[in-house]
């Protein structure tokens, strides 16, 4: 993935004695000490990170931790005290006003916490704002604005005034305004922070859905760790202007860098962070016709499982067999070595690899392992119900035990699939 945005050693100190403040920072003094000594406020200290093209980079932190300052430096609304901010190799921090204006017009758009829609313009005119600034002629402007409104489902409201819309809808207009110019980078400063929880969830899902097709490079600011974990391909946790940890959702949840992060992680919704893929195992499926009941039972004993999936000769899932049923069938005197069909359960739970664990909760309660299938309905893994519950309850030990297991299937689950495809 090519790097779109590269931030290096960026500092922002508000106030007069910036040099003195930077010196004290270098000596390792805290934000409060520096404020007391120099009267200068440290907004951001020594931020360095890269964001790849099409990636969502989330910056999470409490109020006052410097998130807004950081994101405003990315499009030059705030000039950094030192450091460089490269967008496609252009340094926003030092490129001059003209070039900066060009970058803002062509490359980088912004969505604001309180929407910042222009109250005297209609929704369509608002969505067209970036194009108007660029000097696009009215008819084309309108057409492209309507297209952007279409993307956020608000075309019908084009002629309304922003004040006639609900908060969620206003922010969609804000998003449409950001998308209309076709920028490569989207800066979003707590865009859903002012919305009701239900609407916020809806908007998060919608953003993810949009992102699947748009593939923008997004810098997303939030104070809500759940939101960060849900949206972020990579997440930076910020405190007092500093990054305390940068990593994927899973890395941050399973391995918090310090007590500060751990305190956040303690009350997150794990079911939204982890997906079926994170807890799935090698399918170790048995094959109709080839394998018999005894083979299946032996495999279950080896893997310490209670059930296995059964595939037919075309690799379609035929069903699932449990140790209990197979054992009962073998005990049947009349047919000492039964075929798998006799114990086959054909109603079984399935999930996609990127389904959130929350969504698997019901299926896991049924007791059967959940079949993880790919887009062509092929079996790529199985999720044991216990693994779901262990991960949801944050039981690190059990989840840890599953981890090495879960690491192998990605290799082994692939190879049989390929073999079979060739066969």
């Amino acid at each position: 993935m090519p790097i779109k945005l590269s931030v290096r050693n960026v500092f922002k100190v508000f106030g007069r004695k910036t040099n003195a403040a930077l010196e004290l920072l270098a000596q390792g003094r805290s934000k409060e000490e520096i404020l007391k000594a120099t009267g200068a406020t440290v907004g951001v200290q020594d931020a360095s990170f890269d964001v790849g093209e099409g990636e969502i980079f989330v910056v999470m932190g409490l109020s006052g931790s410097g998130k807004s300052t950081l994101v405003r430096m990315l499009n030059g609304l705030i000039a950094p005290t030192s450091g460089s901010i490269l967008i496609d190799g252009d340094d926003v921090a030092s490129c001059g006003r003209r070039r900066l204006r060009e970058i803002r017009r062509e490359k980088i758009a912004m969505v604001f916490q309180h929407f910042a829609l222009f109250p005297h313009w209609t929704v369509a005119e608002n969505a067209a704002y970036g194009l108007r600034v660029k000097g696009v002629q009215a008819p084309e402007r309108r057409e492209r604005a309507l297209k952007a409104l279409d993307q956020v489902g608000l075309r019908a409201w084009a002629e309304s005034l922003p004040s006639e819309l609900s908060g969620g809808m206003q922010q969609r207009v804000g998003l449409a305004r950001g998308l209309a110019t076709g920028p490569e980078v989207l800066l979003m400063d707590e865009p859903f922070g002012a919305l009701d929880p239900l609407i916020r969830r809806e908007m998060q899902d919608e953003l993810l859905a949009l992102q699947k097709t748009l593939r923008k490079t997004i810098i997303f600011i939030t104070h809500d760790l759940n939101e960060a974990l849900l949206l972020g391909d990579k997440i930076a946790i910020m405190k007092d202007g500093r990054f305390v940890q940068v990593g994927t959702a899973q890395e941050i949840v399973s391995n918090p860098a310090d007590d500060y992060v751990a305190a956040f992680v303690a009350d997150i919704d794990r079911g939204r962070v982890f997906t079926a893929e994170d807890v799935s195992n090698d399918p170790a499926a048995v094959r109709l016709g080839t394998d018999n009941a005894e083979d299946a039972m032996r495999t279950m004993e080896d893997l310490n499982r209670n059930a296995l999936y059964v595939v037919d000769d075309k690799d379609n899932i035929a069903g699932v067999v449990t140790y209990q049923d197979l054992a009962a069938a073998t005990l049947d005197e009349e047919a000492p070595n039964p075929v798998l069909e006799e114990a086959l359960i054909t109603e079984y739970p399935t999930a996609a690899a990127d389904d959130q664990l929350n969504a698997l909760y019901g299926a896991a309660s049924g007791g059967l392992p959940i079949a993880v299938t790919d887009e062509r309905d092929r079996l790529v893994g199985v999720v044991e119900p216990e693994a779901v519950f262990a991960q949801l309850s944050g039981d690190e030990e059990e989840a840890g035990e599953e981890a090495p297991d879960a690491a192998t299937p990605t290799e082994t689950a692939d190879s049989p699939g390929k073999e079979r495809a060739h066969a």
């Binding site: 609304l77 204006r101 060009e102 970058i103 604001f112 109250p119 005297h120 704002y129 108007r132």
Partner: protein
Amino acid sequence: MLSPGDLLVIPFDDWVNDFVRGWLVPNFRPAFRAAQVPITLVLNGLDDFFNALPMLLTTGVFALAAWKWAGRSMAIFTLIGFAFIDMIGLWPQTMTTLAMIITSVLFCAVIGIPAGIVAARSDMVWKVLRPVLDIMQTIPSFVYLVPIVMLFGVGMAPGIIATIIFALPPIVRLTNLGIRNVRGDLIEAAQAFGSTGWQMLVDLQIPLAMRTIMAGLNQTLMLALSMVVIAALIGAGGLGLVVNTGLGRLDVGGATAGGVGIVILAIVLDRITQGLGEQNQAETVSLRAVFLNLIRLRGSHRPTGEIRKAG
């Protein structure tokens, strides 16, 4: 009793005399004379225009404007009030006063709105401008009548200049206020999309400040009206002159008639401009819409033309 005045006498009045008579007047009189040319031009044009218009047509236009922006009862008041002015024989003087007011307000807007915009965009400029406006508003207008006469002479234009000085502060203040009060995140949004300062001004700041600017314009208009009598002291005509003449001759009737004329004109102009401003508020109207309104006002000449025929 000993007082500071016994120890030291400062000839402050002499200093001012020396400054104005000895330096300002001899050096700059031609420049000041030239400065009143545009004022005279606009004023004479408007004065001729209003005095050439038939009384019924003018009344009709004002009544319609009052109806549109201030309601029906205001329209009726306008009709009756203007008829009354005409019947007490002060119509021409009222039109002269109207021309003076419009000229003053026009120049106040032309000077004051840009000044307010500049002040809003620079704290430095505002820091300098603010005390100047304070002084303009607190000095009694009689104080600057004398230097104005010395620099500009007597007559209509000097009267207008005194009026402009007196009526200018509110429009500057309120333009500055309106633009500064535009929400910070909207300004930020405009910047984030790469707008230039000019684009931001035209797209965002002026439209959103329009209501406040209109309120300033209304205040300026009212101040200009209140200067009518004082301006007449240095040779401006119109209703102010009627009042002054009445005062001079202890002619209570004449002075009162002039005063009533001013009051009627003030009420009509105040309500119409207030209504215009409030309409901006209700519709959060853009600059374009304000211009459209003006065109619509001009469009309403036609029905009044018929009234004239009927009359």
